[in-house]
Symmetry: D3
Subunit: 121 residues, 6 copies
């Protein structure tokens, strides 16, 4: 399920930043920066995969906004890496929500066993 691969690391980056700002423990904060870095990079990788592997010419024709959304989301991942501002992580989540809308319209989720697991969850 391609989209969870975008959303999960982005959410972890967001929550890690929340914890970072709530903490006064320098060791914890150093580790949080590292976690944020890795997750934002991971989200970026999966945005690239979504754009260049999943979306086909017919998708882009029908939903031309997808190119710009993926581009902005990928660049936003870099901003999350560079910043401690939680608004940057929030902006990333919002962009992924928008990508998720297109992905769903494009017929994203189909695997039935996965769907069953999801429903169960």
């Amino acid at each position: 399920m391609l989209l969870t691969r975008l959303l999960k690391p982005s959410l972890v980056a967001y929550k890690t930043l929340e914890k970072y700002h709530a903490s006064t423990d320098e060791h914890f904060k150093a580790r949080a920066i590292q976690v944020k870095e890795e997750r934002a990079e991971l989200a970026k990788h999966h945005i690239d995969v979504l754009w260049s592997d999943y979306f086909k010419p017919e998708h882009v024709q029908k939903y031309p906004e997808i190119t710009d959304l993926c581009w902005k989301a990928a660049k936003q991942c870099s901003k999350v890496k560079q910043s401690l501002d939680i608004n940057e992580a929030k902006t990333l989540l919002d962009l992924i929500d928008k990508i998720g809308d297109v992905w769903t319209k494009a017929g994203g989720p189909t695997a039935t066993r996965m769907a069953k697991q999801m429903a169960r969850a």
Copy 2:
């Protein structure tokens, strides 16, 4: 969502084996073996993470079967790597279904934004 990380690569391993047996293209088959290898290894890694990070002593006390299920599932990943028999991949999926049952009972899915995405899916 830890469980999708188990299920997704296991499903890919299963489906890759299906395609392997349906194909007569040697290049495709060589690549399929590689995909199966990587996905089974990935599933194994996430089973280990589930067992050693996610499950707490109180889970194991309440659902003592979880230890044996994770152990068997991890070993089953190795069998999937070693074999071209699709039944081995099927057995792995069944074990993950059982782990999924315990995980759900143990209160697995909680993240609301993820849940929304899942529902949408």
Copy 3:
């Protein structure tokens, strides 16, 4: 020098395919498929980096073809992975040449020490 990171692995993929077809040694051929796979994946990664990190809105405005070129090149990497047809690897090289033209027009190469090394080479 971002562009050499695209071109080098793509060239290796191309040449590896040439050697693959010229060889009758099964061990060599199995290893060649693996090399092709890795290099095409590496090229794909660096195309994604070029597109989402290097190119800025002003580049895309001035050279709107860059989006489509990067997209096609990334998808072409997947074709190189899936195929033994050397024409697919040739098509990838041609796409990278076109990306290289835009990149040069966009002011790509600037680092002077690198440039000196390049000149020396």
Copy 4:
């Protein structure tokens, strides 16, 4: 030799923490946290491999404590990652010593060339 793969990174984590506390150099300390993180993760990976690949049902039947030891050791690796307290690293070493006892009883070391090297060491 599976056990050295557990012990070596755990020892490095322990010694790195010693050096961390003995140092006043911020750059060194930042790097030490990183080293500790990686080594504890590596130890954790090899504990998982030992548990899910090396130990067979007959081992677990004969030495039922092995499951709990591996589980605690894997969780202890996470504690070493999260903490600057050297006692956490010491506890990990003690757990690995206990795993080592079972592993030796279970017939762990057999490769003769390795044994020769070990003896020489």
Copy 5:
């Protein structure tokens, strides 16, 4: 082009150290240390590859200084990792320049398409 793989990460390490010392932003500085670490490690890897894969006995016979240059450069990468002193990064660049001289004399650059790209750059 093997040599760019040495030079590029070494240059990034050098420039990252420059930026580190020019900055007062703790988050930026923590990330800069990480970048320096990774790039110096990458340079080290490619120095090892150059030495053990590229250079042949006839090169070493003709240019016996290459062994010592590669050895010193590899060790210098470790110093760059351990230090915030920009002179260590400068020393690494100087050693790579010397390796570059030998490499060029040894007939390093040959790939014509690469050369064309380089010229264009």
Copy 6:
């Protein structure tokens, strides 16, 4: 224990080749080639680390043969990757034995807890 990191993967490469030649199972053989490739690469990496990190100028002065031994061993790893000939893997083991002799003379093994584990093994 640096030397086990050289010896273990080299031994696995050797034994994997033995099993490769003893087998008629094409799936097993494809996986064996992959294992051999990875282990030879791993051995090569650790030979490079031994040479460029562990050995100091005083070692090289006292045991000048170490440079040539490490160089030959690293190149031999590439031969093991390229070949199905078990003699190549045997040659690698012999070179590592010779490196082991120097390493022991150079005072290699010192960590006492490791030594205890080794003795126990």
